[in-house]
């Protein structure tokens, strides 16, 4: 049995031995927003924030998430709203199939939380662990660069 805070809510889960945080989020806690695309930490589709750090939840042993604070894409905005990162991505065409999108939203929010006005190179480097196969990345970079430019 593990206890953790997910999107500000205290949760418990009962992972089997080698289960990942990703599996627990998706299959025990009813949070399918983080996606399983490679299970090797290469694509970033499963990205969540754990105790303030960006992690690939597929590489985190669920048992190691005991006592942590986890934030997933479901915790980014309230039910009937989207935040600035999400809005920028939507308007710039940064979503196509959308399978990478939750990971990109979480990683981009983490970037802006740690550095409010990143340069384009910094945006590219910060998101280099998130693979998108649809957009060619241009629309996502434009969305986030525009957001950075709005930052006072």
């Amino acid at each position: 049995m593990i206890r953790l805070s997910v999107n500000g809510v205290a949760r418990t889960a009962d992972p089997t031995g080698a289960e990942s945080l990703l599996t627990v989020l998706r299959e025990q806690l009813g949070l399918p927003g983080a996606k399983n695309a490679c299970e090797q930490g290469e694509c970033g589709s499963c990205t969540v924030i754990m105790d303030g750090e960006l992690v690939c939840s597929c590489l985190v042993l669920a048992a190691d998430a005991d006592g942590t604070e986890v934030r997933t894409v479901e915790g980014v905005a309230s039910a009937d709203a989207i935040d600035a990162v999400q809005e920028a991505l939507l308007d710039a065409g940064g979503v196509q199939c959308g399978f990478c999108t939750p990971g990109i939203v979480v990683a981009a929010r983490h970037l802006f939380a740690t550095k409010p006005d990143p340069t384009e190179d910094e945006i590219r480097e910060a998101l280099a662990g998130n693979i998108c196969r649809c957009t060619g990345y241009g629309s996502i970079v434009r969305a986030l660069a525009a957001l950075a430019a709005e930052t006072p």
């Binding site: 695309a37 199939c97 590219r124």
Partner: protein
């Protein structure tokens, strides 16, 4: 009743509106097939062959069935119907029986109470194999008649000869579509012998037919439903786990879910055909193309899939978007024990483009002509005939315009930055700026739109007017490309309503929309949506004598004559429309005929920085102009262009499934390299809008052209930077640094022309 099309105020055709499923996707709420669950659901797992070719000696399911939580194990013996599937030819058994023909071929499936138990049970199944020598060389396969299709195209004067000749051999490796969502689905038995399958696919009705035929069920006993798709790019055009899921659900009487992991996904779908190509271009001294001979060998792998149509595309477009007086093309799709090849974005067009564009550059050099000028001199256009098939080109084909537009775009300044993120080798810190050489390359590509060779190609849309607006029901698959956005825009412009919604219908509710492939849904399902929305509007206006429809109701002049509620009180308004593109014909014995419904061209210019000593490259920029007919949603079109270019760049510099005796050596995202944010070039796109003759509002499909010539342009730029031949993609570091793998490329003047040629 007038059928003049009105463009709705802001959200109709031409508007760069965001996609309707964007917000759920951004919030993590959008349900992909891998997110589906059902009460009492089992998990399935597949047992796969570890050999590229082997005889199955025995299958012992007992160790798996003995495990706690395992509910069933199924093999080919459990298949009730034809037991075979295949998109074009039903030649693949649901499970290997007797002999396995490729590495990873399914041998059995298991269902268990949870995913981990299912995986362990699959591993516990005992299959005894007698390994056999696999046939992995497509050249040997071709020589011994192990082929899916052989095509010979002869057109023009076979005696025509040019004074300037260039010859070359080219090779394209196997590329993976690598959609981020792996194969997944959920099958739910209906309790009376039928099954509902929720699946991410590219062609709901083709899957449906293969499932019910393989299992000898009545068509209405199997219902396929579109579930959220995490990308496709051709990988979902063939069956993967559809039949397995339905069998498991019917056998156990419980819902069954399957999700391939990444390594299984690599073997679970078909790939881009590896190709070996030999070319001979002949031109007169002024640079007019006189004759092109090409010998194209495509490795189709173990089963047919779409090899026949892929090879046909390669042959029909083997000469590029150029006028040529005389053509001789020989194409073979070989049957081997390599992984099966089939559809991937571009569908047979990127391979020859890589070769013929290298040939054009070599020809320009031999002639002492500018490469762009040589292309312009020979550019194919409306009114010309396709040099391979002889088909007159009646729609728009702005080859000259795309070339001139790209050539006129400004080149980037030399990059003096020493930031490693802007250097080849990147943050690996391998390359100092002085070691960088810049190169520029140009390429043009052509392809057909929608299905060819006499295929009965259609899409159905039912327009249903409700008090909440217009619903457009379709079985078309939304793979991320934006069909759903564009079809709604078409519905708005045709009907006058703003509240227009695509509704995904299952196979029992509507006819086929055809495949989401061949760049065809904007034109085909868009075409059907245009007719359905127009028919709904016309009936609404006719019913109450109005002249305009909008979300409030029907208007006559500036007076509302009926609200939607009042209008529909006298009965529902619904129209089912089936759209077909202009008829095409199969080829005759020499490959001649009106084989295609339409054509599309694009040009790319690549700028690369290369560290020639280490063989590392950074693709700095791609400028492109693309023939789009009419951009129904420019934002979505640019999204297709940028995404398609990235896949073309990937093939140029990194993407390759490495095979050893038919076994994949890199079936993971750790070992199969994909472009990241740091690999993505700047892209500038110009949309050339010359309306086509049959797409809605003149639109053409836009998904594939970006992938066709971007690969060729990048490699041309790398040749320009390094002076290497680089006749194989992906270009590897050793190809640049050491000049390894250099198939012969020669050019010669008339005095050196081979005897008898």
């Amino acid at each position: 009743m007038t059928t003049t099309i009105r463009t709705a105020k802001t959200r109709g055709v031409g508007a760069s509106i965001p996609r309707p499923d964007g917000i759920p996707k951004l919030k993590g709420e959008f349900a992909y097939s891998s997110d589906l669950e059902a009460e009492g659901m089992l998990w399935g797992a597949t047992v796969r062959s570890p050999h590229a070719r082997a005889r199955i000696v025995s299958i012992d399911a007992a160790p798996a069935l003995a495990m706690v939580g395992v509910r069933t194990v199924l093999t080919q013996e459990d298949v009730t119907g034809s037991g075979r599937f295949g998109l074009a030819v039903r030649d693949q058994p649901v499970f290997a029986t007797g002999e396995v023909h490729f590495w990873g071929q399914p041998v059995a499936v298991v269902a268990a109470e949870d995913r981990e138990t299912a995986r362990r049970a699959a591993a516990a199944l005992l299959v005894a194999y007698e390994p056999l020598e696999p046939l992995v060389d497509p050249a040997i396969a071709a020589r011994t008649g192990s082929t899916f299709r052989v095509i010979d195209i002869v057109n023009g004067d076979p005696g025509a000869r040019g004074e300037v000749v260039v010859e070359g051999e080219y090779e394209v490796a196997m590329q993976d579509q690598a959609p981020l969502g792996t194969e997944s689905g959920l099958a739910i038995p209906d309790g009376i012998g039928g099954v509902d399958l929720h699946i991410s696919t590219q062609w709901l009705h083709a899957d449906h037919a293969q499932v019910f035929e393989a299992l000898a069920l009545a068509p209405d006993q199997v219902r396929l439903h579109n579930a959220g798709v995490g990308g496709a790019f051709g990988s979902r055009e063939d069956i993967s786990l559809q039949i397995h899921l339905c069998m498991l659900a019917l056998r156990t009487g419980r819902p069954v879910k399957m999700v391939y992991d990444r390594s299984e996904s690599f073997v679970g779908h078909v790939h881009r055909h590896p190709a070996r190509m030999r070319y001979r271009h002949e031109a007169d001294r002024d640079g007019n193309l006189i004759r092109i001979e090409a010998d194209l060998l495509f490795d189709g792998g173990a089963y047919t899939s779409t090899s026949g149509a892929v090879l046909a595309n390669a042959c029909y477009f083997a000469t590029g978007p150029y006028r040529v007086r005389s053509v001789a093309i020989h194409g073979v799709a070989a049957r081997t024990n390599n992984p099966t090849a089939g559809a991937m974005r571009g569908f047979g067009a990127p391979q020859p483009c890589f070769a013929y564009e290298a040939q054009m550059d070599r020809l320009a050099a031999a002639l002492g002509l500018d490469p762009v000028a040589l292309r312009l001199k020979n550019a194919l256009g409306t009114g010309d005939r396709l040099p391979t098939t002889g088909q007159p080109i009646v729609g728009s084909l702005p080859t000259r315009t795309v070339i001139e537009s790209v050539a006129a775009m400004p080149l980037p300044e030399p990059d003096e930055s020493t930031d490693p993120r802007r250097l080849p080798g990147g943050t690996g810190l391998t390359t100092p700026r002085p070691a960088v050489r810049r190169g520029i390359g140009f390429a043009v590509g052509i392809k057909n739109l929608a299905f060819s060779e006499g295929f009965d190609d259609f899409s159905e849309v039912r327009g249903v007017l409700t008090t909440a607006g217009l619903e457009l029901h379709t079985a078309a698959c939304e793979n991320g490309q934006g069909m759903v956005t564009v079809v709604e825009q078409i519905g708005r412009s045709a009907s006058g309503l703003d509240r227009v919604t695509v509704v995904f219908a299952d196979t029992s509710e509507i006819g086929s929309a055809g495949s989401t492939s061949a760049s065809r849904q904007t034109q085909m399902t868009g075409g059907a949506a245009l007719r359905a929305a127009t028919a709904v509007r016309d009936e609404a206006l006719r019913r109450v004598g109005g002249d305009r429809l909008d979300d409030s109701g029907v208007w006559r002049g500036d007076r509302l004559v009926a609200s939607l509620e009042e209008l529909l009180a006298s009965g529902p308004i619904a129209h089912l429309e089936r759209f077909r593109h202009p008829l095409t014909s199969p080829p005759n014995a020499t490959g001649q005929g009106d084989i295609h419904a339409g054509f599309v061209v694009a040009a790319h210019r690549a700028v690369v920085d290369v560290d020639a000593e280490l063989g590392v490259v950074r693709v700095v920029r791609i400028d492109t102009a693309q023939d789009v007919g009419r951009a129904l949603n420019p934002l979505a079109v640019v999204g297709q262009i940028e995404g398609g270019i990235m896949q073309g760049v990937g093939l140029a510099v990194m993407e390759e499934i490495v095979l050893d005796q038919g076994v994949m050596k890199n079936a993971s995202f750790t070992d199969y390299l994909l472009p990241t944010f740091l690999d993505a070039p700047e892209v500038e796109a110009i949309l050339i809008e010359e309306p086509d003759h049959w797409g809605p509002f003149g639109a053409k499909g836009v998904g594939e052209p970006p992938t066709i010539s971007s690969t060729a342009a990048v490699v041309a730029a790398m040749r320009n930077a390094t002076g290497r031949e680089l006749n194989r993609v992906p270009v590897r570091p050793q190809d640049i640094a050491l000049g390894s793998h250099q198939p012969p490329a020669t050019s010669h003047q008339p005095d050196r022309r081979p005897e008898g040629s």
